[in-house]
Amino acid sequence: MMQLAVRPEPLLNVDNLVVEYGLGNKTVHAVSGVSLKVARGETLGLVGESGCGKSTLGRAVLQLRRAKSGRVLFDGEDLTAMEGEALRKMRRRVQLIFQDPIASLNPRRRIGDIVAEPLIISGIKDAAERKRRVHAVLSAVGLDPDLVANRVPHEFSGGQCQRICIARSLVLNPEFIVCDEPVSALDVSIRAQILNLLEEMKARFGLTLLFIAHDLAVVKAVSDRVAVMYLGRLCEVGPSEQLFAKPAHPYTGLLLQAIPVPDPDVRPAESVATGEPPSPIAPPSGCRFRTRCPRADQRCSAEIPELREIAPGQFAACHHPLA
């Protein structure tokens, strides 16, 4: 599928970002030098297993978690250097959608007020104007404003709550949204509705998305490009179709192989990956995936593999990429 004409300057440019957490006298290496770019109008999928740092990366992009080093350039401006009012102003252009739609809505407030809150914070004082925008955005996400605006979150199902969260994230007309596992708490039949809605909203409002999820098929359904993360580092980045058809990093290959396929004629391969991810408190030297990798050798423990172009647009950080 052809992309919209991509402007030379990416909307988001994450440059060598490092995020660490303190844990007693230990350090959790959550994100260890990640660089990526997202073009205007593009959806970049970010996949990885729990604890790989994908949510931390998403939050660090929005400055909800400050980085130890590195830069986050949004539309050319470095968010990591911004504070106070400047950052608040910038935040109107970037939004976040969370995994648990019910927990992210205040149970005591009415839907109309929840969706209007960002407008109040951004200083829109005209109540009629606020109401107009809330109604418009609720209709856009497939809810009837007259029926829902005066009700409270517990009257809605998970799928409907996620629609409300999406409405709230859209009400300020943002340019960029970080979607952190937006459908993983939803049932299959509802998940499809929400994924379709996100695609529709993206086209309608000209959004750029960073779509974080652990489910590769879900990520592929909405992403132009996909980045695979393991234990704080990127393993592989590339165009969705290409990356899924020809994974270059052994970890991407392993993830693809582990997905249960809803087809009984596809016999599940005996899982090749033994073991579990090591702790991000003491990540392995060299390539962080080497402890589970069938291809690992001496070089992998001595030398950190850099992302390099394996095929046009496809980059992998591996000394022994898959053919």
Binding site: L195, L216, A258, P260, P262, P264
Partner: protein, 330 residues
């Protein structure tokens, strides 16, 4: 049909709620032979977990259960609590979704294993310890002897689920009920746990019920699949037959709604519109009719029975079954 280990006969479960009685399980019949695997698939609230609780006789106190659950020749519904207690854990074992809630956080792994073994088998402590170590090794836990002295919080999620499986297997059960055993786990760990369950099942000739929301999990691993919707079994068939030719529109829609790896990015998903019916409200017709694109007037008036197609063992509850005329491909 003499080898039936479990038959669920006309089981219904109702739960009282402030809004009226909730039909959690709406007259379900199922059976399972020794050594076989039954997959029960459905979305949240379809009654799959309540059905498994009915088999285990672990329903909430206020729940009203009718019907029979015949296990190994006895009706569990009418069994005395003491005999039931001896059966559960020994012949009838269960693995839950969240291993952290099924393991006791203040007891060591060794204590929990040894306790279960000694409760049901006549073994002294050293023999029970030895058996515990063997079990932990069998479920793929490195350095099992050291693990015995550890507490659940010292283990990862995958390790805890392996331990929960070791406890479930400890008395050589005839039936293992695995209720969303891998839903809380990462995909690479999920594959390992499903392999482990399949391997131990073959080795022990144990029957298994896998309860899941993921058709992918049952596709390669169950002999037979029952699809549940709004408390009822709406389609039931040998796995191969089901995936080759699903007759119930809900099953088809559920499969279609799953994002597939083969599909190109930005392809709209065939979503199922609407949502399941309110289980506290009486429903005259087919429970899927309001969301079904094949539904006709009759579907809103009468409940379709679960009945046989022309293929043996393939049952569906639908007035307008799909794919009835196609020939089965070679």
């Amino acid at each position: 049909m003499s080898a039936l280990l479990l038959t669920i006969e006309d089981v219904a479960v109702e739960l009282p709620t402030p809004r009226g009685n909730l039909r959690a399980v709406d007259h379900v019949d199922l059976s399972l032979e020794a050594g076989r695997t039954l997959g029960i698939v459905g979305e949240s609230g379809c009654g799959k977990t309540m059905l498994s609780r009915a088999v285990l006789q672990l329903l909430p106190k206020k729940a009203k259960l009718t019907g029979r659950v015949m296990f190994d020749g006895q009706d569990l519904v009418r069994l005395a609590p003491e005999r039931l207690r001896r059966l559960r854990g020994r012949d009838l074992a269960v693995v839950f979704q969240d291993p952290m809630t099924s393991l006791n956080p203040v007891l060591t792994i060794g204590t929990q294993l040894v306790e279960t073994i000694q409760e049901h088998l006549e073994l002294d402590t050293p023999a029970a310890r030895k058996r515990s170590i063997e079990l932990l090794a069998a479920v793929g836990i490195p350095a099992p002897e050291q693990r015995l002295a550890q507490y659940p919080h010292q283990c990862s999620g995958g390790m805890r689920q392996r331990i929960a499986i070791a406890i479930a297997l400890s008395c050589e059960p005839k039936l293992l009920i695995a209720d969303e055993p891998t839903t809380a786990l990462d995909v690479t760990i999920q594959a390992q746990i499903l392999d482990l369950l399949a391997r131990e099942q073959r080795r022990r000739h144990m029957a298994m019920i896998i309860i899941t929301h993921d058709l992918g999990v049952v596709a390669g691993r169950a002999d037979e699949v029952a699809v549940m919707y709004a408390g009822r079994v709406v389609e039931r068939a040998p796995t191969q037959a089901l995936f080759r030719r699903m007759h119930m529109p809900y099953t088809e829609a559920l499969l279609a709604a799953i994002p597939k790896l083969e599909t190109a990015p930005h392809t709209p998903l065939p979503a199922i519109s609407g949502r399941p019916p309110d289980p506290t409200r009486p429903l005259r017709g087919c429970s899927f009719a309001p969301r079904c694109r094949y539904a006709g007037p009759r579907c809103h008036e009468a409940k379709p029975e679960l009945k046989g197609a022309e293929m043996p063992g393939h049952l569906y509850a639908c007035f307008h079954p799909i794919r009835m005329t196609e020939r089965i491909g070679a």
